[in-house]
Amino acid sequence: MSQWFNICKSEDLAPNSGICAQFESQQVAIFFCQRNQDLYAVSNFDPIAQANVISRGIIGSTQGETYVASPLYKQRFNLKTGVCLDLPEHVLKTYAVRIEAEHVQLQSIG
């Protein structure tokens, strides 16, 4: 069984925007979409801009799909699947994330 690890308090989440967590020597962007009470976690590395900036993007939706737009060149990545809507050959790694006892938790992959 994979384990869940506490990352931060749920109050540390910024509503409708992202934060970046260090997790198993990776950078993970965690987004809390207050409007539909969803939590998402994807890799913080923008493969197009080649920089660790995804957590600073803006959350949006198109046709019911929730995405984050990279702050550098504005490509949109589906927050559930990590697939880039504009250039589908780019995919962000996704992580399992939840809130448990007022803590944000990520699930270990190992």
């Binding site: 925007s17 967590a21 539909n36 920089a51 600073r56 993007g57 929730t66 504005k74």
Partner: protein
């Protein structure tokens, strides 16, 4: 075979048009030589009065030496053709130059008629025709207090405008009982007079000047036939034009009884290979003193020389113009010479609008119209006349004020034939416009650039816009201004909603007017509008999600995810102590340092966790945020002005500081740049800014809607001779109107170009307060200014907000993938790819 040789006598607007017609037709090749007695190549005489509102001879130029040289056109300035030898096909100039020709084109234009009055040749008596005339008038103006224009026609009133601009007490003396006697009826002439007098210009009708003698209080005294008199320092004669037919007359070309070189439908004179075009030509016993018929003649003559068939069939003399800021238009026949004609008159004495529509006996066709005070109906009425269209059932609606249903007052542009001329300045037909739209022009800006339509007098801009909209609709484009899929509103509509409904958060807006979660387009837009009106701290919890990464961390994100730090250096003025602080901070945090085009200093390469520390040091030293990260006022660039500069006229430095401090932090549809120059040498490059101010002896000249960047544009002169108080009022209104009505990411230039009515309309809103908005706009600006805060100062006082300024939420580590290298002794992001060095010779 040798090339055909064409000699063009005269390089005015029409002569140039003829040459340009041949240049742009690549299928033909002629040897062309043109002579001008003036010292300049062709310039725009129609816009001549623009000379007094800041336009230079260069601005008015229609062509230049380079263009002629590149196209193999020979030109000779300051030399007049004095002999015409039609037997040997050659001309001789004043300087003795002999030029043979195969075809000769006379485009000698006209000369101003000066009534034979004793004393009309005194030193400060002028005419109004060339740039040189205008320079003479300006020179006289400097030593004058009072000026008189003789002639109350179209040009006379333009000349009066010039005298007003020169600051003279201005009089207009007219022989006829009313102003613009040719174009207007009694009612129109009377209203025009009232309006002009309200502007301080004194009008004297039914006055025949008998002599000009020395004056008592002024330089001259004009005595009139009825025994009255008027004292003045300067006189401008503008009593009509006469065809310049002297050359033709001396060398036996056929001349009309009252002058003018007689031509046939091909613009040939009685000598087969000699043509006459423009104001010197007489067709069907008529002289055409407007540019559009002249252009038409130029095209006809060029076509005939090329062997094509095109005929001149007369021209419509309808005209629309703005005289001293008053809209005046005349269409068709207005003097009741059409048997059985009847008319509708709308006369609003309160708003001072006069409109008269004259229709045929059976009421189905338009005969003519006069519009004074409001000429919006001009486009529609003119098209009805030119295309011989049937009037709507109740023709009165054409001149009645709009009742909100725009369609009721107009007619569908779909009804116009493709051949209908929309823009007569540049001869653009509806067909030209529709094919430009089909080829991809989707905005007024595109369409103007592509076809030149409505870039001349601008009279057709409303009509051009209608054709554009109708074409877009018929091509299946939904004319859709929706901001994005979440809001079925344009930015302007959202602005109205936020302002009127006093909406203060994105949640409220989305819940009531939108759908979905929002996106990277509507969120920052809403953030910007909310900030423009309520100016709350941008990092408030409910605004955070709206901020683009720049606003989110109050810095400009760079390619590697680090930020730049840009403190405000208002007007580019900085003390040595502050300069040292910047150096020390940059050194401590190893920041790449560069001086910007906006006269301030950028420090690059700061990481999230460093930003608060850096800003604390800067704020302690007296700096504040420069808002470089926001779509907002950036900088007010300035020269030192009269504090140091020996040429400075006014204190540009103080004005720049005041303006930058007044408007700093104003969130707007796009970035805004200002500049202030202390004299007309213009060292601050104010004409390339959204708002540019240049000091003159008479006060500040205000330029608007300029920009650098991808599509550079010089600003337009908006108002001149302003004091600082008026200036600030105008800027307040201008900026808030921009904030309220522009599209997202639309610079002021594009905003203005796409506005129906363009610059004139903007003047009506900002200066004349046509929409009755001025107080409201000023108040909104006041509120915005009152709520100004340095966002960095606020952030540093708020520990909760500071938590956001670290790379990881759960660790103090920093981004370990950031890599730098050194270039010219400074730190830059490591270049991941191998640079290809391009060798340039």
């Amino acid at each position: 075979m040798n090339k055909q040789r064409i000699v063009v006598v005269g390089n005015g607007m029409v002569g140039h048009k003829f040459i340009d017609t041949l240049i742009t037709d690549e299928s033909v090749d002629y040897e062309i030589i043109t002579f001008s007695e003036e010292s300049r190549l062709a310039y725009d005489r129609v816009q001549l009065s623009g000379f007094f509102s800041g336009k230079t001879a260069d601005d008015l130029a229609l062509t230049d030496a380079t263009y002629y040289q590149e196209n193999g056109i020979n030109f000779v300035l300051n030399d007049k053709v004095v002999t015409l030898d039609t037997k040997n096909n050659q001309v001789v100039t004043n300087s003795g130059r002999i030029e043979p020709y195969d075809k000769l084109v006379l485009a000698t234009g006209s000369f101003p008629f000066v009534p034979p009055i004793a004393g009309n040749d005194k030193e400060h008596c002028h005419v109004y025709r060339t740039i040189d005339d205008l320079e003479d008038i300006t020179a006289s103006g400097k030593s004058s207090k009072v000026g008189v224009v003789v002639g109350g026609g179209l040009l006379g009133l333009e000349a009066a405008n010039a005298l007003v601009n020169l600051g003279l007490e201005t009089h207009v003396v007219e022989f006829a009982p009313r102003l613009m006697a040719v174009q207007l009826d009694d009612g129109g002439g009377q209203l025009l007079r009232r309006k002009i007098e309200a502007l301080g210009v004194q009008v004297h009708t039914e006055k025949a000047t008998t002599e000009i003698v020395d004056g008592e209080n002024c330089r001259y005294r004009m005595n009139f036939a009825d025994g009255s008199f008027l004292e003045t320092d300067t006189i401008v004669f503008s009593a009509g034009i006469r065809p310049q037919d002297e050359l033709a007359r001396q060398f036996d070309l056929k001349i009309g009884e009252r002058g003018g070189i007689a031509i046939n439908d091909q613009c040939q004179t009685n000598v087969e290979n000699v043509y006459a075009i423009g104001e010197c030509a007489l067709w069907d016993n008529k002289i055409f003193g407007l540019v559009a018929p002249g252009y038409q003649m130029a095209k006809v003559a060029a076509a005939h020389i090329k062997g094509e068939s095109l005929t001149f069939t007369g021209a419509d003399m309808s005209t629309k113009l703005k005289l001293l800021g008053i809209d005046v238009a005349s269409i068709g026949e207005v003097h009741g010479q059409t048997p059985g004609a009847q008319s509708y008159t709308y006369h609003d004495e309160i708003e001072q609008v006069y409109k008269r529509l004259i229709v045929s006996e059976d009421g189905t066709k338009i005969v003519g119209a006069v519009l004074v005070g409001n000429a919006e109906a001009y486009g529609t009425l003119l098209q009805l006349l030119l295309n011989d269209m049937t009037l709507p059932e109740n023709p009165a609606v054409l001149i009645l004020p709009s009742t909100g249903d725009e369609q009721a007052a107009g007619f569908g542009v779909e009804a116009l034939p493709e051949t209908a001329t929309i823009c007569s300045c540049f001869d653009v037909s509806k067909g030209d416009l529709t094919s430009a739209v089909a080829a991809g022009c989707c905005t007024m800006g595109d369409l103007k650039e592509q076809t030149k339509a409505s870039t001349g007098c601008g009279g057709c801009s409303a009509l051009t816009k209608q054709v554009l909209d109708s074409e877009l609709a018929s091509l299946g484009f939904e004319v859709n201004n929706d901001l994005c899929e979440h809001f079925a509103y344009s930015r302007q509509e959202l602005t109205d909603i936020i302002r009127v409904k006093k909406i203060t958060s994105f949640d409220q807006l989305l819940e009531n007017y939108g759908s979905g979660l929002g996106c990277e387009i509507c969120k920052p837009t809403a953030g910007s509008i909310l900030a423009s009106y309520w100016n709350e701290y941008v990092l408030e919890d409910n605004h955070i999600e709206l901020q683009d990464s720049n606003d989110l961390y109050l810095g400009n994100i760079q390619k590697n995810g680090t930020y730049s730090v840009v403190p405000r250096i208002a007007g580019g003025e900085i003390t040595p102590d502050k300069l040292i602080v910047l150096g020390e901070v940059a050194k401590e945090f190893d920041l790449y340092t560069k001086i910007t085009g906006g006269q301030r200093i950028d420090l690059f390469g700061a990481q999230l966790h460093e930003l608060p520390v850096i800003w604390q040091q800067l704020i302690d030293a007296g700096f504040e945020t420069g808002h470089a990260y926001g779509k907002s006022l950036r900088t007010v660039k300035s020269c030192v002005g009269n504090t140091w500069c020996r040429f400075g006229v006014d204190d540009s430095m103080t004005l720049a500081l005041n303006l930058e401090n007044r408007y700093k932090g104003l969130r707007s549809p796009h970035k805004i740049k200002f500049a202030v120059s202390g004299c007309t040498r213009e060292c601050a490059e104010a004409q390339s800014k959204d708002i540019g101010l240049i000091s003159t002896e008479n006060g500040w000249n205000m330029y608007v809607c300029g920009n650098g960047g991808m599509r550079p544009r010089h600003g337009d002169l908006f108002a001149s001779g302003l004091d600082e108080q008026t200036l600030i009022k105008y800027i307040d209104r201008f900026l808030m109107f921009y904030v309220r009505t522009a599209d997202r990411l639309q610079r002021t230039s594009v905003w203005m170009e796409n506005m129906e009515g363009g610059l004139d309309y903007l003047r009506e809103v900002v200066i004349e307060d046509k929409l009755n908005l001025a107080d409201e706009l000023e108040q909104e600006m006041e509120n915005n200014i009152e709520n100004y805060q340095c966002e960095w100062k606020t952030t540093l006082q708020n520990p909760e907000k500071l938590k956001r300024f670290k790379h990881f939420i759960n660790s103090d580590d920093t981004d370990n993938q950031l890599a730098f290298e050194l270039e010219r002794e400074q730190r830059i992001p490591a270049q991941q790819t191998i640079k290809v060095v391009e060798l340039t010779a």
